[in-house]
């Protein structure tokens, strides 16, 4: 019996099993959890983390790291609001935000891949630079949205489900496909497994890494737009600490910080576990201060589980 349990928990799908059990428990024990309204609220609350986690997964899988995501999200949101206010065209605003996000990511990638600067240091630097740009552009104040159509991005619904949740779902599918079914995805995992061997096997390691960071920037741009629309303004101080939540969600989802191991389903589960924990705690009126502790404990447990699983599989 215990052997069987061990096998299930430590197997490939262990995390999914735990997630289902946790979900069932929370549904039973927490009042008002399993209602349509709460479910939609839950999904909406994980949109930002979930979107950014898609590309953070690639970053970590290639043995890289990106701390600048929170700043890029805030900066891109700022750009979207200011550019659409200035030009009067929402579309131009959105394109500008995505282009700016992609540009910052591209710079990250070039510095890391071509100049061989440690990813942690590089993105620590751009994290501050970009946050600074957002503050300068707005003079440190929130910038309101002129066109009410901009709100509609976050408010509109399709088949009763808010647009941002649809965007999240589409990105999950797209990046899951990219990871498993494209040369780019497989090369990413190979680089994380062994960068030098990948280079000698003909993988263009530098270009792949630049692409990963540029994509990360683009995706942060999308997240920034949706966030600005939800909070109805461009806030230079938005998404502070986002990078840690995103990395936590990825690690929870079984992405190895040592690189070479990542699954989209794992990351989705990781994002949802974080969301459910927070949601349940809110429903139970647990004070915010305690929530930090719970989040930390969940993360530690997840990493411990991952460690057990690795040794059970005889790796490392």
């Amino acid at each position: 019996m215990t052997d069987q349990l061990k096998k299930i928990l430590l197997g490939e799908q262990g995390l999914v099993v735990i997630f289902i059990v946790a979900f069932a428990l929370v549904s039973l024990l927490v009042p008002n959890f399993l209602t349509d309204r709460n479910m939609l609220g839950l999904l909406q609350s994980v949109v930002t983390v979930g979107i950014v986690a898609c590309t953070m997964m690639f970053c970590l899988a290639a043995r890289d790291f990106d701390l600048s995501v929170g700043s890029i999200v805030a900066f891109a949101g700022m750009v979207a609001v200011m550019a659409s206010n200035y030009t009067g065209s929402i579309l131009l605003g959105l394109l500008a935000a995505i282009a700016c996000g992609g540009f910052v990511g591209f710079i990250n990638g070039v510095v890391i891949a071509k100049f061989r600067i440690n990813a942690l240091i590089t993105t620590l630097a751009t994290m501050q630079i970009v946050r600074g740009l957002a503050l300068i552009a707005s003079d440190g104040r929130a910038v309101g949205i002129n066109s009410p159509d901009f709100y509609q991005l976050a408010l509109s619904k399709l088949l009763g489900i808010p647009t941002p949740v649809w965007v999240l779902a589409v990105l999950f599918c797209v990046f899951g496909f990219i990871l498993n079914r494209t040369v780019f995805g497989k090369n990413t995992l190979a680089i994380g497994g062994n960068p030098e061997a990948s280079r000698l096997a003909g993988v263009n390691v530098d270009r792949t890494r630049i692409w990963i960071f540029a994509l990360q920037g683009v995706v942060c741009g999308i997240a920034g737009i949706l966030l600005a629309s939800r909070i109805t303004s461009g806030q230079p101080n938005a998404a502070v600490g986002l990078e840690l939540s995103v990395i936590s969600a990825c690690v929870l989802g079984g992405v190895s910080l040592a690189g070479g191991r990542a699954t989209m389903s794992g990351v989705i589960v990781g994002v949802l576990i974080m969301g459910i924990a927070e949601n349940a705690m809110n429903l139970l009126n647990i004070p915010a201060f305690y929530q930090y502790i719970v989040r930390g404990v969940i993360l530690l447990l997840a990493v411990l589980l991952d460690n057990l699983r690795s040794s059970a599989l005889g790796r490392r």
Partner: protein, 503 residues
């Protein structure tokens, strides 16, 4: 009953039965050889002995007492010490500090330096080990470090000492010192387990011998009197191998690869050579002679300072593996672990990593054709694995080498295959398979460049041998000129005698 007894040791890993019911005993004051092909279960047995892994079934008894270790520390405390190929010393500490690590003589947390030096010095003197114990370990040669490892075992009053391929990186003089030390330990009544691939060492040193094959006991000799080398090889492989090389003559065609005046950061003197279609060219030399460095320049793995590479008369413009592969040059590196396998990924992905661009449309993979490619090469190269999905890290060295070969053979249009140390760490059976494969590829018109430190190997399989010494090509021999002495002499810098590297 013997002093050290292995009884029905069984251990399974996912998909592989590493050991099944292995039993044998070793007496006190004996050096016991442990031989077998890669993947035969030697390392697993040693790991179980050292407490690093647990047997699924069976037990180890020392002096009649069952040993149940939960960790290597436990094994330590019970006087069982394993000295691994990768030495476990702290380079920044002195010899004396390394030997006292974990047991520093101290008062109130302050190390009693003089007492430590005295203790260690006295212990080593009585064991006959002559090393300056105040030197930092990082300043010692590999041979000296090995001595320190053994000294560690002596310091701990070990009863059982297992040595895993101890001479693999020692010079012949250093090996002699090691053998003398082992003799002395034997005299003191220790049990020594000696794991080695080298038959001459085993025959010279060991009193008794166990041969493992496919996780089972293939033979146990309580004495080596009357046992022949051929017999032991047959026991390891499970069949007689008469001519491991199986060389067969081929006709060389036109010049395929032409490397002219290549130089780089690690190869100062420009070097040139060529290889013809259907030809197997061997590069022989000492470690550090510049062979691997030259090959890395040809492949574009390291930046070139000067020179050019042409394939079939066409200049290979860029110098990056990404481009040279497309020009038809591939390289199997000598350091498989660092430069070859992608750890944590499946055999399938390791095979397809380079060639997958051939079966994609707009960057999207064709899964069916990837799977088919992987299955084809697993079968063709006889990779021993339960599934293509197996993590490559779980394969033995020989099987990993085959997967890397599969990676390159699945590439289209390979014209030049450079293979650095093709059979390092690979057992006899797999060796013959790899040689046969090279012959077939050459017959199909590929130019093959083999870099090897094993003279018998290059002499056995190559049509032509180039010798490198001190960063330049020092001599060339065609097959009818092959002579061991002359090739060896060309590989040696003037200051060394052939004896120094004969090991």
């Amino acid at each position: 009953m013997s002093f050290l007894d292995f009884s029905r040791i069984t251990k399974a890993y996912p998909g592989v039965k590493a050991l099944s019911g292995v039993s044998f005993g070793v007496d006190k004051g004996a050096v016991h050889g442990l031989m077998g092909e890669n993947g035969a279960g030697k390392s697993t047995l040693i790991k179980i002995l050292s407490g690093d892994q647990h047997a699924d079934d069976g037990e180890i008894r020392i002096d009649g007492k069952v040993q149940a270790y939960s960790s290597t520390r436990d094994a330590f405390d019970n006087g069982v010490i394993v000295i691994h190929q990768e030495l476990q010393l702290v380079p920044e500490l002195t010899v004396a500090e390394n030997l006292s690590l974990g047991r520093f003589p101290a008062r109130a947390g302050i190390i009693a330096g003089r007492q430590m030096l005295e203790d260690v010095g006295a212990k080593l003197k009585s064991a006959g080990i002559d090393i300056d114990i105040s030197r930092k370990v990082k300043t010692l040669s590999i041979g000296e470090r090995q001595m320190v490892e053994i000294a560690k075992a002596i310091m701990l009053d070990a009863r059982v000492i297992a040595l895993d391929e101890p001479t693999s990186s020692l010079s012949s003089r250093e090996s002699e010192i090691l053998f003398a030390l082992i003799d002395r330990l034997r005299g003191e009544g220790k049990v020594i387990i000696y794991v080695s691939h080298r038959l001459d060492e085993v025959f010279r040193l060991c009193d008794s011998l166990t041969v493992l094959r496919d996780g089972k006991l293939a033979a146990h000799h309580t004495s080596l009197k009357g046992v022949t080398r051929d017999q032991v090889v047959a026991e390891m492989v499970g069949r007689e191998i008469s001519d491991i090389w199986g060389f067969r003559p081929r006709k060389a065609g036109d010049i395929r690869l032409k490397a002219e005046g290549l130089s780089g950061a690690k190869l100062k003197t420009p070097a040139s050579f060529e290889a013809r279609a259907g030809e197997i060219v061997g590069f022989f030399g000492l470690i550090g002679a510049g062979r691997s460095e030259l090959m890395r320049l040809v492949f574009g793995a390291d930046p070139r300072f000067g020179g050019s590479v042409t394939v079939d008369g066409k200049l290979v413009h860029a110098a990056d593996p990404h481009d040279t592969i497309r020009a038809g040059i591939v390289l199997c590196s000598e350091d498989r672990k660092h430069d070859g396998i992608i750890q944590g990924r499946s055999i399938e992905e390791n095979i397809n990593i380079s060639s997958r661009r051939h079966h994609t449309s707009f960057g999207v993979l064709n899964r069916a054709s990837e799977i088919a490619t992987a299955e084809t090469f697993i079968k063709k190269l006889k990779v021993r694995t339960p599934s293509r999905k197996q993590d490559i890290i779980n394969l033995s060295g020989g099987n990993q080498q085959k997967v890397i070969l599969g990676r390159w053979l699945s590439e289209q249009g390979v014209r030049v295959l450079i293979i650095d140390e093709p059979t390092r760490g690979i057992d006899v059976g797999a060796k013959a398979e790899i040689y046969e494969l090279l012959y077939q590829l050459a017959e199909d018109g590929m130019a093959i460049v083999v870099v090897s430190s094993e003279l018998p190997e290059v002499m056995g399989i190559c049509d032509r041998i180039l010798v490198m010494c001190g960063g330049r090509v020092s001599a060339e021999f065609s097959r009818d000129q092959f002579a061991e002495k002359a090739i060896l002499a060309a590989a040696l810098p003037d200051t060394k005698t052939p004896d120094a590297i004969a090991s």
